[in-house]
């Protein structure tokens, strides 16, 4: 039992060869469960933080659930090699994941949400372009909070600034909700799985969608005319973290995995598998040149500055968003 590491993570964050190498080096056996943010949290909630030794939620989704359900353990920073992290990213993440003076998450992989566009079929610059009449029935977004935030930014507001003011935030979300409802007819579907969207883009059923950068670059690799674009109102930046569930049984293995993953050569392999960049200091030197090129193409200097990084989500905010999302879903 003590010999296994039960890892709750995203698809592509633990490629088979990396796992094999870790198992060989450390002697731990890795059990993978693939998931996404919501499922990670709800699983840990249902198990009271048991069942897994290490999880990888996004940094903005740690303190809220932790406050509510107590599903994580605080990190013992002494067991980690801090020098392996890009310092600025480590600091930013720590700040966002600190509760009651304790740190609950450390950065691993980061990326952005933006637009994926089939440039041979249409041109797009910002999120509202997805609702243009000429692409009716050929666009898609996720029915999740990033979409709301993106459209909020696109409308010229700063939703993150309103996190502390639920009322104003609610009003803003109501507006965004109306925009989305009006846009709904334009959407082919709400995607909730990246392969579903990728397939749509490949076949040309979808010409533009809100998506995270990885997917865009992946498609770009297949078809050059499909590109990931940082929208005018700003891409949304996210960081996926390492967090240790409250009833994890094998913290030693968890720390071993974290340290292992932050080794630049490993981080580079993971980054390649995920198609994103990592918080590992020095990994980007080892990164795939093509990916770097794609990144550079998608993020000119201004765009990189304009990235909106998710701050921690206070409790109660998701409820407001949830209701708006439901309304969008229900609208006809």
């Amino acid at each position: 039992q003590e010999k296994t590491l039960r890892l709750l993570t995203w698809a592509d964050y633990a490629p088979a060869d990396v796992v094999a190498q870790f198992e060989k080096e450390s002697g731990y056996k890795v059990e993978l469960t693939l998931s996404n943010n919501e499922e990670m949290i709800s699983k840990l909630r249902a198990t009271g933080g048991a069942g897994f030794d290490l999880a990888q939620p996004s940094q903005d989704r740690i303190t809220g659930p932790q406050q509510e359900f107590g599903i994580y353990k605080s990190m013992d920073l002494s067991k980690l090699k801090a020098e392996l992290f890009i310092p600025s990213m480590l600091e930013a993440t720590k700040k966002n994941t600190t509760l009651g003076g304790k740190v609950y998450g450390l950065p691993h992989i980061w990326g952005t949400d933006g637009l994926v566009v089939n440039t041979s079929l249409t041109k797009m610059a910002d999120y509202p372009d997805l609702c243009r009449g000429d692409v009716k029935g050929k666009t898609a977004v996720r029915l999740k909070r990033p979409t709301l935030l993106a459209f909020a930014f696109a409308s010229g507001k700063d939703p993150f600034a309103l996190y502390s003011n639920p009322k104003a935030y609610g009003a803003l979300m109501d507006d965004v909700g109306k925009t989305m409802i009006a846009c709904k007819g334009n959407l082919k579907f709400f995607w909730d799985n990246k392969d579903q969207l990728l397939n749509g883009m490949r076949t040309g059923e979808i010409v533009g969608a809100m998506m995270w950068d990885t997917g865009g670059w992946k498609l770009n690799g297949e078809k050059a005319e499909i590109q990931f674009i940082a929208p005018k109102s700003g891409a949304l930046g996210w960081i996926d973290t390492f967090a240790i569930p409250a009833k994890g049984k094998n913290d030693a293995a968890a720390y071993a995995w974290i340290n292992f993953n932050l080794r630049p050569e490993i981080a580079a392999r993971v980054a390649k598998s995920a198609g994103n960049f990592t918080a590992s200091q020095g990994a980007d030197q080892l990164m795939d040149a093509k990916l770097k090129a794609q990144f550079a193409a998608s993020f000119p200097e201004a765009a990189l500055k304009n990235v909106k990084w998710y701050p921690a989500v206070p409790a109660g905010i998701e409820e407001i968003e949830g209701r708006v999302l439901d309304r969008i879903k229900a609208a006809n």
Binding site: E38, E68, F69, K184, D326
Partner: protein
């Protein structure tokens, strides 16, 4: 042995009773009654601060105040009733054919044919419908090929699609109680009615339906329950337009971690199903126990 000679061995009978009662009670209390009590308690509290809850009707209030939720609720109920009715109408002629017209080998063959699709899971059946109906699927292509439509139409993600899927999924559970109800109808009753001057319609109304009522009600209850509680078909076939109440429950539990709200929705759904089943039983004058024996 239920003979009275066991009276001399009363302790034996008591022991037996206890042994038989234990698993039933464990099951019913541990997996049915207490979980629902827990659900009820959950639904009656509200979060006031992190990890601080208080008794409240807030969850139910949300349901009432947010039109979305009760719209979905009503819609789910109406669609389920509609699906049940369509299933009944579609199943009846087939059940009649199998029970009353087919004979011998034909009869068992038709019956088995009805069963076969239900040996595979709902996922598979839904997959079939998706392949058939999606924009790049079989039927739209066929329509284009036949020249009936200029371009492939998206047949998924409509209410009608959901209805087709629900009816399909429920068909067996209607056909079987109907067949057994109709089979138990003595042919000579129909002959007698006919002999006395009845015609098809009056026999159907006065003899067949009253006789088959328990079977009809049994089928309708089961189908209604399955439809109302379905998750897979509405979400997969309904796509962005599906609004099924079970989906709301799932969302609250899994994507919103809001168990309190989810529990309240669960209770509302349970209340709805109980009410409609009860009304169905009342209207048709049937008893629950008897009806369920037949399904």
């Amino acid at each position: 042995m239920p003979t009275e000679s066991t009276r001399s061995a009363m302790p034996y009978a008591r022991l037996m009773l206890m042994l038989l009662l234990a698993p039933a009670l464990l099951w019913l209390l541990g997996l049915i009654v207490l979980p629902h009590v827990e659900l009820g308690i959950l639904s009656l509290r509200a979060r006031v601060a992190p990890r601080v809850y208080e008794a409240s009707l807030a969850q139910y209030r949300t349901f009432i105040e947010e039109p979305l939720y009760w719209h979905t609720f009503v819609r789910t109920a109406l669609m389920s009733i509609l699906a049940t009715a369509v299933t009944l109408v579609m199943a009846f002629p087939i059940a009649w054919t199998i029970a009353k017209l087919a004979r011998g080998r034909n009869k068992s063959m038709l019956f088995v044919l009805c069963l076969i699709p239900f040996w595979v899971s709902e996922t598979v059946r839904t997959l079939g419908w998706m392949i058939l109906l999606r924009e790049s699927g079989v039927l739209p292509q066929l329509l284009v090929w036949l020249g009936l439509s200029p371009a492939p139409i998206e047949m998924l993600y409509h209410d009608a699609t959901i209805l087709v899927g629900l009816v399909y999924t429920s068909m067996l559970f209607m056909v079987i109680p109907l067949i057994s109800a109709l089979e138990s109808l003595d042919d000579s009753l129909i002959e007698a009615a006919y002999d006395l001057g009845g015609n098809g319609w009056s026999i159907l109304r006065q003899i067949v339906i009253p006789h088959a009522a328990p079977g009809i009600v049994a089928g309708c209850i089961v189908v209604f329950m399955l439809t109302l509680g379905n998750y897979l078909t509405p979400t997969l076939l309904g796509g962005k337009n599906s609004q099924w109440f079970t989906e709301q429950i799932y969302t609250q539990f899994i994507t919103r971690f809001n168990w309190e709200q989810g529990a309240a929705f669960g209770f509302l759904l349970l209340g709805l199903s109980t009410a409609i089943v009860w009304a169905g039983l009342r209207l048709s004058g049937q008893k629950f126990g008897e009806v369920m024996q037949r399904s």
